[in-house]
Amino acid sequence: MSEVDRIIHEPARLLIVALLAGAKEADFLFLQRETKLTKGNLSSHLIKLEEAEYIEIEKTFRGKIPLTLVRLTSRGREAFQGYRKTMNGLLR
């Protein structure tokens, strides 16, 4: 039996990764609104995903407003596809 990816398996992180899978890039506010997580909670999940090299975080400015852009890495995309395949296989 294939091993389930524990990093993606957590519901909040699964939602973050799924949202990023359909996006080229998204900012912190978009993710916060869609996941309905608190700032601190979202930050900690993003840090875990970044440590696993599933996402990359870019801190930039648009005019004078700080902007945190988040993107799924190719490793993260592969992990997400693998996770979906594993889960489909397990539930079949």
Binding site: G22, E25, D27, F28, L29, E34, I65, L67, R84
Partner: protein
């Protein structure tokens, strides 16, 4: 939220603020008005392409400066073509084949209109076909609007499909110049798209007040 819904969410969010419809609709409406008054320079292709480039920049600015501070910033992922070249030939997966066919059809359709309209080529068609050009364009557009209405589950596109059909019917029974009829029909439709986008954008701004840090 289900996983597939989450994957589709960035594309939905890109469309739900109405910015793209509003700016493209207004641009096409103005181009139509210019065409109708014969002020649009003919035979200079870049002058036809330039408004689209400017509109692209306007869309980006509105998304970044107006939408992002209210509801966050997201750019949907573009479909990637999966083409594999091997010793047995070139293999293109089914989703990419579909995408190539739709893109090709849209490009041919748009280029066809861009060449036909400014060069006044409709009058060279045989008599009974001239009246059918408007109907053909109206039905294609109505089909496209109906498809968007079904995909996005939004009634405003169903109304635009109905408007396209009504204008197509008018273009067929009207005894005026077929080219002017088609231009007027497209200009009215562009105005309709722009209006639908503006209404959408207004309600989006009301529902999403600016978040102050």
């Amino acid at each position: 939220m289900k996983v597939q819904e989450a994957i589709d969410r960035p594309s939905q969010r890109w469309a739900e603020d109405g910015v793209v419809e509003m700016t493209l609709g207004v641009q096409l409406f103005l181009m139509g008005v210019l065409c109708l008054s014969w002020k649009l320079p003919v035979g200079i292709p870049w002058l036809t392409v330039l408004p689209f480039l400017i509109t692209g920049r306007v869309i980006q600015l509105l998304k970044e400066r107006v939408v992002a501070p209210r509801a966050g910033y997201v750019v949907p992922r573009e479909e990637e073509l999966e083409i594999r070249v091997s010793s047995q030939g070139i293999k293109i997966d089914k989703a990419s084949q579909r995408m190539l066919i739709i893109t090709g059809a849209l490009v041919v359709w748009t280029l066809g209109l861009l060449v036909l309209i400014p060069n006044r080529m409709f009058p060279h068609l045989p008599g009974r076909w001239q009246g059918m050009v408007g109907v053909w364009i109206a039905v294609s557009l109505a089909f496209w609007f109906a498809w968007i209405a079904w995909r996005q589950k939004t009634s405003r596109y169903a109304w635009l499909a109905a408007l396209a059909l009504a204008l197509g019917g008018w273009a067929y029974v009207s005894h005026g110049d077929p080219l002017s009829n088609v231009l007027l029909m497209l200009t009215c439709l562009a105005g309709g798209v722009g209006m639908a986008g503006a209404v959408r954008f207004r309600s989006f701004l009301q529902a999403n007040p600016r978040i102050e840090e």
